[in-house]
Amino acid sequence: MHPWVIKRLLGALLTVWASVTLAFFALRVVPGDAIASQLLQGGASEADVAARRAALGLDDPLTVQYINYLAGLVRGDLGRSLLNRQPVSTLIAEQFGATAALAVSALTVALLVGLALGSVEAVYWPRLPGRLAGIVSLLALSTPVYWSGSLAILLFSAGLGLLPATGSGDTAHLILPAAVLGFHVSGSIARVTRASLRRTSGTDFVRTARAKGLRARRVFTHHVLRVGLLPVVAVVALQTGFLLGGTVITETLFARQGIGQLLRDAILDQDFPVVQGVVALSAAIYSLVSAAADLLYGLLDPRVRVEGGHQEHD
């Protein structure tokens, strides 16, 4: 393997370790946890609480807990929920499918809509279609999911009765959440697409292609698009991170099962092992996707490899 690839993967691994460590210690600084609030409310004695804490290893010194946690993490063991003592990995695995389906379909919508809006804006600016596409993409970026989602429910569920508003399960339940979340994300993709296509249109090799007498359409599809879409790869990676956060709100709004709901409930209940498990999972996914995007970028554009694979965050 190219040393640059190894370096990038090691960097991703280091980021995951650092995020997990940060989450571990930060969450243990907080006074109070699910055990105390739940058991004492339920009428359990102090001794019961102490016994439960001891059983979960919460009395051990912090460093011992940390080493145990890391050792478990390597084996895929994320600890147990403080509330129902279920393994966190099981809780996450149960919810993962629903969230992955939402995230992947939302990203597909975002890519299709975003690339279309961005291209129309770049090609037709400053004529009317270009300006309209610009306004739509900025509106997509500005409309929070929790509002566009409410409007979509009003129109398609309450008004027209076409789609179910809440719940999860079949494809019909996926359409509205994926469309709403995808539309919001399409805004950033459209803006990066437009900026990059415009920049590319002004470069020498595009001018050369035009000077050769190629038709405008062919110059666009064969020259401008091929180079101009490169930065979009990086944005899609960044948006994966956003999607992980965005699913929390989307799942709450549409009362869908998923990791987002799991996280929200765990935060409200102060069930820290679950919060930590979700954080570890998202840091891992996000780092891997960014690393993959960097590698892909390097594959598509050899200049990146020379410069060490660094690219700007948004």
């Binding site: 930060a26 907080v30 500005s142 409309t143 998202s282 996000y286 780092s287």
Partner: protein
Amino acid sequence: MTDRAVPLGILAAIALITLLAPALAPHDPRSADSPALLPPSEGHPFGTDTLGRDVFSRALCGGRQTLGIALLGTGIAVLPGLVAGMLAGFFGGWADRLLMTVMDVLLAFPNLLLALTLIALTGSGPAQVALAVGLAGLPAYARVARAAVIAARSQPYIEAARAIGARPLRVLLRHTLPNAREPLLSFAAVSFSWAVINGAGLVFLGFGGDPSTPDWGAMLNEGRAAFRTAPWIALLPGALITLTVYAVHRLADAWGEGKTAR
């Protein structure tokens, strides 16, 4: 100039309404003295909510908390982010590397997820939401500030200032910073738009503390609960959030002119 006039006008109008809200609101935004879930009428142009409070009055007054959280959050992101990014970008060396490593680790958490994790630490409430949203936006701002300072630092007139013997701090504050003004302002606007969306989002999720306080995010949550019977509750607060964020983005565009990625 005209690029900025429209968004600035929108923002000024929203700020004015928010500041004058107590005088403008026809009803007390907290009192539940009307029947619940009244549809829009002359006395209640946007109806009443699940507890019988006037939606129009709550929307007018809701900007105080929503925009207050966002402003405070932006301050928490921008001021330390600016100082950290500036020092890192200007002086470089091991401090730069250390700081940027920390920021990169924080950037590995998606913005809203980082804010949620911080809420898990601090608990619910408007101040906590502002802190969470602000800290979540800090690493991105530090990175942008660093990049802006590095870009400005390499200008010939900075070298000239150094050559005539200006002290580093003077070069940074009097020569580098003014030249980096536009990207810094532009990304501060972007940070504010994130703070509005994420702050209202956290309140929407139920982390805003006292639910009787008027807040656009809290109203959207009430609207979600009653969308079948009372779809009018969510309309106005959502439109106000969107309008605010839209205007802020337009302003960021005018300042940044495509220098930032979004």
